[in-house]
């Protein structure tokens, strides 16, 4: 079992996106935007059928209120970042 928090989910280096939580360690700075997205995901699951629009709370571009292709966009962005890191 591994415990971690997001510190910078958009960092180029995957190893810098999260920090493991060890027993003795205090909580490091967390990635507010990432956790905000998690809140919106949870809210969308419950309220989506009632017309909940996450874009009203999010900085993300409007995507018709659906998460349909977000995973793909995130994956693509991450891939681009990884390639950039490799090139650097």
């Amino acid at each position: 079992m591994i415990e971690y928090i997001y510190t910078d989910s958009k960092h180029n280096n995957p190893l810098c996106r999260v920090v493991p939580i060890e027993n003795t360690q205090s909580l490091p700075r967390y990635d507010k935007e990432k956790y905000k997205e998690m809140i919106l995901d949870a809210a969308e699951t419950v309220l989506g059928l009632l017309g909940f629009d996450r874009t009203a709370y999010s900085n993300l571009k409007r995507n018709n209120g659906r998460r349909k292709w977000r995973w793909y966009e995130e994956l693509r962005e991450q891939r681009v970042r990884d390639i950039e890191t490799e090139m650097f």
């Binding site: 079992m1 997001y6 060890e22 809140i39 059928l49």
Partner: protein
């Protein structure tokens, strides 16, 4: 001659004897010996060969042979009784050579009972008492004279076997004989001890002394390695550094994994006891055996008691699949039935479950490997299922009477869960290739009957004026628009017409059946949330249920659901409830952005590493975290 009452802790075969470990009522361990002569059955090619073979085998000093009439050799043909040669050896050491000789002998058609382990042969044919059972034993010195089972079937408590847990850590984190032991952590009852020293010999000495002092019956190896590997490492390491490691008398050794993947982790100690008794196997084996092997063991035991002999797996494989046309396979090879959910918000919904539907269908319709297609006498599968179904119902009823914080309640729950697992797998393995007696037709017939039940259920529900909003295999969600009606009539009618008992799973005040996340027009199974009239939230397939979601998000979603459902009717949910929920979303975002009122643990995500870090090909967040962690350092090889 002495006698005592105790529990059968372990059975093993050693040379020409069976060794029994008995834990007596006064906490002592008795080591007893019983004679054991391994044996098997031979089906000769024809009568002439039979006489010749019998003569040859009779001449050998170490073998006792006799004719056995009326032995059933084929489960699928109960009229087929054969005359077999029963070969019994005086000693275990002649067993394998003789078996090899006969396997290739031109006069031998087939051998039986050769797949069984010696301990199974002893338990099935001589002792006939399930390991871990309570019994009265008479003995003279170490020689066992007589043993009689004492009925403890209804006792919810586990036998009084003592357990010692130990967790071994090396400097490198892996178990290779070159790696030294860094620390051994031990837990016995409520006490935890850590043996930590720069000198490995001292750690081993302290551990050995502790085991001798506490004298446990069962040693539980914690960690991600199998107990066999841990013990092999421990003794190899001790030998390497010149330490004579002694762990005392014969103890059972079982595994407990950090990933909670062993049967002991999943079902607890009482569950393990149930496994041993069901499989008719010693505890150590029951802790390791896969469910198909466990079921096979039970099947073999039951059949031997009925006068059958057990064919080897290679001879049984023909039963599994039958030659059929593609059309027959397509029409028959279907699983349970699902009626798609009606997406949206529903009011006053009753979720009904058929109690142990598949097990009851097997018993009610006498569905077994050998009975599908017309056999009238009671089949093997229904007789096993019936016994363990009754046992599960007994513990389920008992559990309701027990206080939730009692040890008995926990044991009861473990037994109920394990028995459910067995009953489900008894059905699930009916068509399995790994099942010695597996028959796809039996599996398909059970599924067909369950589909029939669901279709009948749908018809009855609709005839009575209710709406069926969702149904999945053995559970149905029904609702009525007439609030004056109660649901008792539909429950009564369904039970009467199907011959199966139903119970109310939940009575929802509000229920939301969700669409597929990727497309709101497509309904999705097992994704819903609702609140009962008792104000209990019931959720399936959403964030609250996931393990890798931070506590803060789970708490937020729970509050969101309560806020949404805190309404009189669905129209109020769409207005007032929705507004209250939106307010909560804003508050939760504020909390995250400011960090006020957030606890350290609120944002932590927990995830299991399901394999060694080296095996991951992508740097998923939890893998990245594990690489950075001191607990799972990346090993350079």
């Amino acid at each position: 001659m002495t006698s005592c009452i105790g529990w059968l802790l372990d059975v093993s075969i050693d040379k020409d004897h069976a060794n029994l470990l008995v834990k007596t009522e006064d906490g002592q361990i008795l080591k007893l010996r019983d004679s054991y002569h391994p044996g098997f059955y031979v089906l000769p090619r024809n009568e002439v060969d039979a006489l010749h073979l019998f003569q040859i085998l009779s001449r050998e000093e170490e073998i006792a042979v006799r004719w056995e009439e009326n032995k059933f050799t084929n489960l699928f043909d109960s009229n087929e009784q054969r005359k077999l040669i029963h070969v019994q050896l005086r000693s275990l050491r002649y067993y394998q050579p003789l078996l090899k000789r006969l396997e290739n002998h031109f006069e031998v058609n087939q051998l039986f009972n050769t797949d069984l382990l010696h301990v199974q042969q002893y338990l099935f044919t001589k002792l006939r008492i399930e390991p871990t059972s309570k019994m009265k034993v008479e003995y003279d010195g170490s020689k066992m004279l007589e043993i009689v089972k004492v009925d403890d079937e209804d006792d919810v408590n586990s036998p009084p076997f003592s357990l010692l847990y130990f967790d071994l850590h090396t400097y490198s984190g892996i178990l290779a004989s070159d790696d030294a032991i860094r620390v051994i952590k031990v837990r016995y009852e409520q006490n935890e001890v850590v043996f930590d020293n720069n000198e490995e010999k001292i750690i081993l000495q302290q551990f050995s002394d502790y085991v001798h002092e506490k004298n446990p019956d069962i040693i539980v190896c914690m960690g991600d390695y199998d107990n066999g590997k841990v013990l092999r490492y421990l003794f190899a390491r001790a030998e390497k550094i010149g330490f004579d490691l002694q762990l005392g008398r014969g103890r059972i050794c079982i595994s407990s994994s950090y990933r909670r993947s062993t049967y002991f982790d999943q079902f607890g100690f009482a569950g393990l006891i149930e496994r041993a008794r069901f499989g008719f196997l010693p505890l150590g084996m029951a802790a390791k055996y896969s469910i198909t092997r466990l079921i096979d063991s039970r099947n073999c035991f039951e059949l031997i008691q009925r006068g059958f002999v057990i064919p080897s797996r290679t001879h049984s494989i023909d039963n599994h699949e039958h030659i059929r046309t593609v059309e027959q396979i397509v029409s028959g090879d279907k699983g349970g039935m699902i009626i798609s959910p009606q997406i949206g918000l529903h009011e006053d919904v009753l979720a009904l479950d058929y109690d142990n539907e598949y097990a009851n269908l097997i018993v009610n319709h006498n569905l077994s490997y050998e009975t599908v297609g017309g056999e009238a006498s009671k089949g093997l599968l229904p007789s096993i299922v019936e016994r363990f179904l009754k046992r599960r119902l007994y513990f389920k009823m008992l559990q309701k009477e027990l206080p939730r914080d009692s040890t008995e309640y926990v044991y009861c729950e473990q037994r109920v869960n394990l028995l459910k697992n067995i009953l489900v797998c008894l059905y699930g393995s009916t068509g399995s290739l790994w099942n010695r007696y597996g028959n796809v037709l039996a599996f398909e017939e059970i599924n067909r009957l369950s589909r029939e039940v669901l279709i009948k259920t749908k018809d009855i529900v609709q005839q009575l004026g209710y709406d069926l909003v969702y149904a999945d295999t053995d559970s149905v969600f029904i609702k009525t628009t007439n609030s004056a009606r109660d649901y008792n009539d539909v429950i009564y009618t369904l039970s009467k017409e199907t011959g199966l008992s139903l119970s109310v799973d939940y009575h929802y005040k509000f229920l939301v059946l969700l669409p597929l996340e990727a497309d709101e027009k497509i309904e999705v199974l097992k994704h819903y949330f609702g609140i009962t009239f008792d104000n209990e939230l019931v959720v399936r397939g959403i964030e609250i249920r996931r393990h890798d979601i931070p506590a803060f998000i789970k708490r937020f979603q729970t509050q969101l659901l309560y806020a949404l459902f805190d309404c009189k009717d669905s129209s109020e949910i769409l207005t007032e409830g929705y507004e209250n929920a939106l307010l909560l979303v804003t508050q939760a975002i504020d909390t995250i952005m400011t960090g006020e009122g957030l606890d350290d643990k609120d944002l932590i995500i927990s995830k299991l590493l399901r394999q060694d870090i080296q095996k991951y090909r992508s740097l998923f967040p939890h893998v990245s975290a594990a690489i950075q962690s001191r607990k799972h350092p990346l090993k350079v090889t």
